[in-house]
Homo-oligomer: 259 residues x 2
DNA sequence: ACGAAATGTGCTATTATCGCGCATTTGCTA
DNA sequence: TAGCAAATGCGCGATAATAGCACATTTCGT
């Protein structure tokens, strides 16, 4: 028996096992594995090869995956699944223009993230960043909650119970030699984030990269966070950083009114 | 027996019916229906209510859908499914910066689309548009192929056989009182697009909105298109329009080199 | 050329799924 | 407030869908 979302509990009997397996196949196409062979899919999902084959061929048939000889990869149709969420929140129509306007004030890109389980997911971004993109974050990119500024601001945006739960359960692992692995110290920084209204993380998630982020809370209880990242040296400049913080704070208010 | 992607044929036996039904449930969360009740899902998918319930509860269990009392809606986790595709093409790292640079030359937003079946799907965009967003297009938004500039440029980017097939099969319906419903005339405009290197559509898809778009073809055979839309009066200015066309052409070359 | 890995697929036993129906709950309207 | 329609949760049994095994064939790498 599992309890989900405060409604009646979802029992094992309510779960479609085949559908869950199929979603596991779809999920295998991920950042580090965008083109997959059938044996790779089977290994990643733990399914028998024949089962994995049928499920991925179903995705091919539905148009979400294409097959070039032995290699399977996603098609643009997969983006259509995302658009239901993006349209529901009107990111394109209302939030991105706001992000863009504020990003122009500081000539830096602003990203917006929301919580997904124990991680942060980028849901919108606008503007041109001022640092060489090491990975290239896009909508759907994930960052960890605890070692990143945008993640800490997300946690700080949550009600106290949920905050405590996330701090206790979210993964805490080393990304750089500056990553803080003391869960208590991270908790203290999140409390400070909640109190002063922004998070500032220097080099803990990406070497040489610092980030500022602010929590976003809407009247209806929706939470998100906004973040800017840049070279550590640039954000070490307190004048610039305060400018960034002020801009992000104002932007957060504007976004909160839209959620 | 169905033939897919030039590989062996996908037989009925290769398709997982339950998984396909589940994907139908996921697909029901769409632009015009972002929050759904169980009976709505059942009606949209044509499934029995009990089946629809089990499938949507599976999505809740997996975290892609949340349930607030009687209403189901997508969670940010759905974006993670899209990120495999976006990362595979490095849209965030390489293509969006290019779009942004060119969009700044003309102070207008540039969108990039790819073909999905018989429609166009937005896969990237950058910059601030100069028209009031009526809908707010985001990654994953769909536009029809034949009455839109970006769609026509997409078709024009295809090899001749595929172009013919799309012109014959893509839906052609009225969006405004300027929509051209003569499939022959649309075919001629697409041929012109291929020849002169850009499409120009005035008010056929959105009233009072015109658009310019250019085909993108990469060495490896990938096709896409880039588009700008604006108020009809603005794009009626031939000087401005030629500037837009030149910029889009250059941008297309740069993007083609990245695909 | 050989061997390992991968592919496609037939087949059967099993089990997951479907859908019906019932009891209960909820929401709306008069 | 009462009544009715719509919606929900879920038990249950029949059966259709699935899983997985094994075999023949193909592909790839050394």
């Amino acid at each position: 028996m599992r309890r989900e979302g405060g409604m009646r509990e979802i029992t094992d009997r309510d779960i479609s096992l085949t559908f869950a397996k199929g979603m596991g196949v779809l999920k295998a196409f991920d950042t580090g594995a965008t083109h997959l062979t059938l044996p790779q899919i089977a290994r990643t999902t733990g399914l028998d090869r024949a089962s994995a084959r049928r499920l991925v061929l179903t995705l091919v048939h539905l148009g979400y995956v294409k097959q070039d000889e032995r290699v399977f990869s996603l098609t643009p149709r997969i983006l259509v699944l995302a658009s239901g969420f993006l349209q529901a929140h009107q990111f394109g129509k209302t939030i991105e223009p706001v992000l863009r306007a504020f990003s122009q004030q500081i000539s830096d890109a602003i990203s917006m993230a929301m919580i997904d389980g124990l991680q942060a997911v980028y849901v919108a971004h606008a503007g041109a960043g001022n640092r060489p993109a090491s990975i290239g974050f896009t909508v759907g990119s994930r960052v960890p909650l605890l070692p990143s500024a945008i993640g800490r601001a997300l946690v700080a945006a949550c009600p106290p119970d949920k905050m405590r739960g996330l701090i206790a359960a979210a993964p805490l692992e080393r990304f750089t030699d500056r990553t803080v692995l003391d869960r208590g110290a991270v908790a203290a920084d999140i409390a400070l984030t909640a109190e002063r209204g922004f998070a500032f993380v220097e080099g803990e998630f990406e070497a040489g990269v610092s980030a500022v982020a602010t929590p976003v809370r809407s009247e209806s209880g929706e939470t998100a966070s906004l973040g800017i990242s840049g070279s550590a040296s640039r954000l070490a400049d307190e004048g610039y950083r305060n400018q960034v913080v002020d801009t992000l704070r104002e932007c957060s208010k504007a976004v909160a009114a839209l959620l």
